[in-house]
């Protein structure tokens, strides 16, 4: 019996919680609608295409390839990114650079298939040369064709 009463009280309490939210939020909504600025807003919604949320510093966004000081890509084609990639979306082809004695090879092709990419960031962690990063803060990558989602060397170096 007491248990039932508790439930009943909780039912009323629940209605009180929602009513309180309604009244308080309505109050701020009304004030804002009348042009009065308040520190608190009636809703926590971000109106996405117009307003954008600030992306966290560590957020994993679109990949980019870093360059060395002389402008060549830092990538030495160790293919560790392609190896570690769980969705098998990285494809690299090496070429030999006869002038570079240190690293000797450079990427002739570097394709990331974003339509397969799951943005896990393993490739970035695997890279021993810090040549690949996911810090462009670009997250709006939708395209009309899957082929447009194949990002090649040129696009990734930008």
């Amino acid at each position: 019996m007491i248990k039932a009463l508790e439930y009943f009280l909780e039912i009323i309490h629940g209605a009180w919680v929602t009513t309180r939210h309604f009244v308080v939020n309505m109050w701020f909504h009304t004030l804002n609608l009348l042009g009065i600025k308040t520190r608190r807003k009636g809703a926590v919604t971000i109106q996405y295409p117009e307003e954008k949320k600030e992306i966290a510093y560590r957020h994993r966004s679109l990949h980019r390839l870093l360059k060395r000081e002389d402008g060549r890509p830092r990538c030495v084609v160790c293919m560790l990114c392609a190896t570690t990639c769980p969705s098998e979306c990285i494809y690299i082809e090496a070429a030999e650079d006869p002038e570079d004695d240190e690293f000797q090879k450079y990427p002739a092709k570097f394709i990331i298939d974003l339509s397969r990419c799951c943005f896990c960031g393993f490739c970035v962690e695997a890279c021993p040369e810090d040549a690949l990063r996911m810090d462009t803060q670009k997250i709006e990558l939708a395209e009309y064709s899957r082929l447009d989602l194949l990002y090649d060397l040129e696009k990734l170096l930008q």
Binding site: I11, G14, A15, V17, T18, T19, H21, F22, N25, M26, H29, L33, G42, A43, V44, T45, Q47
Partner: protein
Amino acid sequence: MIETLIVLAKIILALAWFLTLTLYLTWLERKESAVIQDRIGANRASILGLRVIGLFQPFADAIKMIFKEDFTPPFSKKILHNLAPFTSFFFVAVTIAVIPFGDKIEIGGRLINLQIIDTHVGLLLILALLSLGIYGILLSGWSSNNRYTIIGGLRGAAQMISYEIALGLSLVGLILVYPSLRLSEIVAYQGQHFWGWLPKWGIFLQPLGFLLFLFAALAETKRVPFDLPEGESEIIGFFTEYSGLKWGMFMMTDFMEVVIISCLITTLFFGGWQVPWLWADGFHFPWGTVWVLPRAVVVILQLLAFNLKVFFFCWFQILVRWTYPRFRYDQLMNFGWKLLIPLCFVNIMGTAIILSL
């Protein structure tokens, strides 16, 4: 002739009021739930870039529903499948006929009742019409050629019948108290006051009856705490196989039931169009002050009072819908049969004993 025209005008006006309110109830539901949950809610529908806090949303919804494919599942009972949403819609829409919107008014020497039909079995008629709503559910569930829908329909029918009893019994106490089943007389009766200051509203005469009626009525609307017939998000209900406008009619029916329930609560328990201390010639405050008002103002105040009460209960029902989680089916049945109905009998017995004293 002129009588017919007047009735026709009343029907049109009442239906227009009813359907507009229903339409905006969909908007209200979205907005209210959003405000409760610290969101903004639908605000994108616009005409020429004009958004007006999403007020055009119902029209956008309607246009979408009209242009969606109207799909009838193969091997279904085509006629019944098409008939079901209209049945549901019709029986709820007709109920508005007996709701009194206001007092009698005098236009051109003619007394016009602000009620489409003032029948002497008004209360029973409403209960009867609400019961007929089951047919829409059963028909749609059965005619869809889908096991899930028929189970949903049966769930719905069982629930509706169970709560129908509680709904009827919760009003018996009220019937014992009120002098008539005629709704206009019930409202008029509630214009009196206890000891000169407390309005003789149903809620004060029958507090327990009100609570029982509220629960039973919420169950009748098939909305969230009691939404087992449909349970759109997971348990699959009777109108699963409907799309487009026919689905829209079921949705509309839900909201119309909300309005009808609000109208009934207002009429039966909150004095209908009555404003406390407002007599036909103006306010008679309990401390003796008299504030004489012209007849037109009084009528408008009464209409406004009715509307406000109805709006409040619409708001209240939406609040309930966005506050509580769904019952389990056995809980639902236990609640109806083992709690509501016994309490109804207690209420009836109590009322009868008090009245016989």
